[in-house]
């Protein structure tokens, strides 16, 4: 009798019990872990804290975008690792998007051969673990490249060898002015586009914005070369003999094989998923939309650009955001081939040296959480911009 009353009339009380149990269970687990951690750390004579970030790291990193050597701090080493992670993720996202869009559209091609080839590309690269693909490129494919003395020569300006890809180094004078001109070009394009939209909506006037945009983007920076003292020279890699048998390239920029293997594997693997998203997005646009567009006299390109793509993008963007996030997280596999990303540098070398497991693993995980959240915030903003604006 009491039980029944409790069940029906006190819904609030009934809801409270499972919640209280869950919270209490969670709290007790956390307290249990925390006490154990405290005791363990006390036994080993280390205290929790982030002071070690200022200590000298005294280990070298093979590839760094900012100045770094052993005399810098652990904090700086963390930054080097983070920048390397971001570098490989950005490269991977760029190429995965291009390849993914091409393959996705090819799968819908009315050319049977192209559609089949694209389908098999997806089936093959999607079903092989990414780590194996990274190993394949790094240990098998790139190791088959020639030694520096007979590297693959691209018109004497770039060399592909077993030790990496040597490309010319850009040497700018007055780079700031050039950068400003590019930014100015983008601002100008933005205004031209909004003016053109207004003209089209009010007066039905068509302004060729694409041509104007491209012209601005090329002409404005070009002017700085002629009138504002900007210049660009290249430093080409040159073969140098270190000893009778050892050769290397001096000058230029060396792209290490770890980076090439990682970027290749990440973009080829992720491209398969993006291709499937693109295909689903284009198929998701109703046939009636295309027919309606054709019936008001749009040509094939206009249908794709003005009717199909804007609607398809809405379907494509959310799952593709997920793929970008996955790619960023997958870039942590770098540790397997010793590309100095945040996991290898920080959660690997720095952890071994300092022994501060809890702090370092927490920082690494928090970094990835922050990266994930910032990508999803940006893509949500973009998605909102593309979403249907109902009047």
């Amino acid at each position: 009798m009491i039980f029944k009353k409790f069940n029906i009339e006190n819904k609030k009380a009934r809801d409270l019990i499972p919640q209280a149990i869950t919270v209490l269970a969670l709290l007790s687990v956390i307290i249990y872990f925390a006490t154990n951690a405290q005791i363990n750390m006390g036994n080993r004579g280390i205290s929790f804290g982030f002071g070690f970030l200022n200590q000298e790291a005294s280990f070298d990193i093979t590839f760094s975008m900012i100045e770094y050597d052993g005399s810098h701090s652990y904090g700086r080493a963390f930054l080097v690792g983070l920048l390397n992670t971001i570098l490989v993720s950005v490269i991977g996202i760029f190429f995965a998007t291009i390849l993914g869009v091409i393959v996705g559209i090819s799968r819908l091609s009315d050319n049977y051969l192209i559609a089949k080839v694209a389908e098999w590309y997806v089936e093959i690269f999607r079903n092989i673990p990414l780590i194996l693909q990274i190993f394949f490129w790094y240990f098998a494919a790139l190791r088959a490249l020639p030694l520096p003395e007979n590297g693959i020569n691209f018109y004497d300006i770039s060399f592909l060898t077993i030790k990496g890809w040597y490309v010319p180094k850009f040497i700018w004078t007055n780079f700031n002015i050039f950068l400003l001109s590019v930014i100015a070009a983008f601002i100008a394009i933005y205004f031209v586009n909004s003016y053109a939209t207004k003209q089209r909506e009010q007066f039905g006037k068509q302004i060729p914005t694409t041509i104007i945009s491209f012209a601005t983007l090329i002409l404005l920076p070009l002017i700085t070369f002629f009138f504002l003292g900007v210049s660009l020279t290249f430093e080409y890699p040159v073969l140098k003999q270190l000893s009778p048998t050892v050769f290397t390239y001096a000058g230029g920029v060396s792209i290490i094989p770890e980076l090439i293997a990682l970027a290749l594997a990440l973009s080829m693997y992720t491209a398969t998923f993006i291709a499937e998203n693109v295909r689903a997005g284009i198929l998701g646009v109703g046939k009636g939309q295309k027919e309606a567009a054709a019936s008001i006299g749009l040509n094939k390109n206009q249908i794709l650009k003005l009717v199909v793509m804007p609607q398809a993008l809405r379907i494509i963007i959310p799952p593709t955001t997920n793929q970008y996030l996955n790619l960023t997280k997958n870039s942590s596999l770098a540790a397997a081939i010793a590309y100095p990303d945040i996991v290898l540098v920080f959660a690997g070398t720095a952890l071994m040296q300092t022994g501060r497991a809890i702090e370092i693993i927490s920082i690494t995980m928090l970094t990835y959480l922050t990266l994930s959240i910032s990508i999803s915030i940006f893509m949500n903003w973009y998605n909102k911009k593309m979403a249907i604006k109902e009047k």
Partner: protein, 417 residues
């Protein structure tokens, strides 16, 4: 005048034979070049002879592109690979690339490869050294598990495959007993058989497990555990009780925001710090917990998708029949929701299988890890290509079979008419 007219039905008799012979000539040229290293067009200047197949093929395809020719096979051909100039060029490029890449692949895989022998010295050709795979095959399958005890792994998997195989053929009402056995009895039976330590079986520590069998063991257990946890998390995230809802959200988003490799690092170096001094949990179990929780978070999001897709009427109908929360979910909501998300579940399980090689970071070696070990053996240096091609092929077969099976399941369970 007639010769330069646009290809049409009137001149089909002259254009189609010419077109076909041009296309055949261009393909023949590339074929001879790729397979027999012959250059049929050698009498031409080098650059022209290089481009000639493309030009000939292009003209040929132009000539046979006749709309509504009345010849059925010609129409099908034109529609599928030759609908306009751009498509014709794409078709030619695809055919040329395929023809060009067959001979080197064939050479490496079969013609120049070595199959017999027992050491690296037996590999003399330029192709693959499959002797490497043959010699190491046992290790690739069983890791460092003692040779004399390998029958135990074989028996465990044999029982598994027999039970699964038989369950496909038995009557519908017996099927559930088979499934109950597979889910609740077999995993523990199998693990006891493999680890030993009782019933007169020699104890084999988990550090010695490895190879493809470890891939299967880890995948099987992680799939078994991550599914119920994922369903509970998904229900928790949809719960009306705020504490449970936000704890679930926090848990799911935490795991989904970090890469698996850091979770494995955590299980290896950080987790022992959280346990009382002197407690030791086996490495394999720690890894299993890490992978299970990680994949459960992804599973939860997939299941939540299915829960959200169900119309509200289903919930209301169940409640109006007087069902409580658990009965409603177990009998009405989950069966429909899970069916909706079979592709998502399959993708998560596939991701799980593809993630197993990552356990190398904590020192466990399944197939990919064993290949890494074998290729650094001083007697077998330079075998990376063979090893990773083999591992890739094995994983590809497993994953492709899984995705095909899920597609079939989806079709079979579909109630749409």
């Amino acid at each position: 005048m007639n010769l330069i007219a646009k290809p049409s039905k009137e001149n089909i008799k002259t254009y189609v034979p010419i077109g076909f012979s041009l296309v055949s000539l261009s393909i023949l040229d590339v074929f001879a070049n790729a397979f027999f290293n012959l250059n049929l067009m050698a009498f031409l200047p080098s650059q022209l002879s290089y481009l000639l197949p493309l030009i000939l093929g292009f003209i040929g395809f132009y000539l046979i592109r006749i709309e509504f020719s009345g010849v059925r096979s010609l129409d099908i051909l034109n529609k599928n690979i030759n609908s306009n100039n751009f498509n014709a060029v794409l078709t030619l490029f695809t055919i040329f690339i395929i023809i060009k890449s067959i001979p080197p692949m064939l050479d490496w895989f079969i013609l120049e490869a070595n199959f017999v022998g027992n050491s690296k010295d037996d590999c003399t050709g330029d192709g693959a050294c499959w002797v490497f795979i043959k010699v190491w095959f046992n290790r690739f399958m069983y890791g460092l598990y003692p040779n004399a005890e390998q029958w135990r792994i074989n028996t465990a998997f044999l029982i598994l495959f027999t039970v699964v195989g038989v369950s496909f053929f038995v009557a519908e009402r017996l099927k559930k007993y088979f499934i109950l056995f597979l889910v609740f009895v077999f995993p523990f039976l199998g693990i006891k058989l493999i680890s030993g330590g009782s019933f007169g079986l020699e104890y084999v520590e988990s550090a010695a497990w490895g190879g493809l069998s470890l891939t299967f063991i880890i995948s099987a257990f992680a799939i078994l555990f991550c599914f119920p946890i994922g369903v509970i998390l998904a229900l928790g995230r949809r719960s009306s009780l705020p504490a449970i809802k936000y704890i679930s959200i926090g848990f799911i988003e935490l795991w989904r925001g970090v890469p698996l490799i850091t979770v494995l690092f955590m299980s290896a170096v950080m987790f022992p710090m959280f346990l009382p001094d002197g407690t030791f949990i086996d490495k394999l179990i720690r890894v299993l917990i890490a992978i299970t929780l990680f994949e459960a978070a992804y599973m939860a999001e997939v299941v939540r998708g299915g829960l959200q897709a169900l119309p509200k009427g289903q919930y209301e109908a169940a409640k109006s029949l007087g069902m409580g929360y658990w009965r409603m979910n177990a009998l009405i909501i989950l069966p429909q929701a899970l069916k909706l998300v079979i592709p998502g579940i399959a993708n998560t399980l596939l991701a799980l299988v593809k993630d197993t090689p990552l356990i190398f970071v904590v020192g466990l070696m399944e197939l990919a890890g064993m290949i890494g070990l074998a290729k650094t053996n001083p007697k077998w240096l330079g075998m990376a290509m063979e090893g990773y091609v083999f591992a890739g092929l094995v994983f590809w077969i497993i994953c492709y079979a899984m995705s095909r099976y899920s597609q079939n399941l989806e079709k079979k369970l579909s109630t749409e008419r």
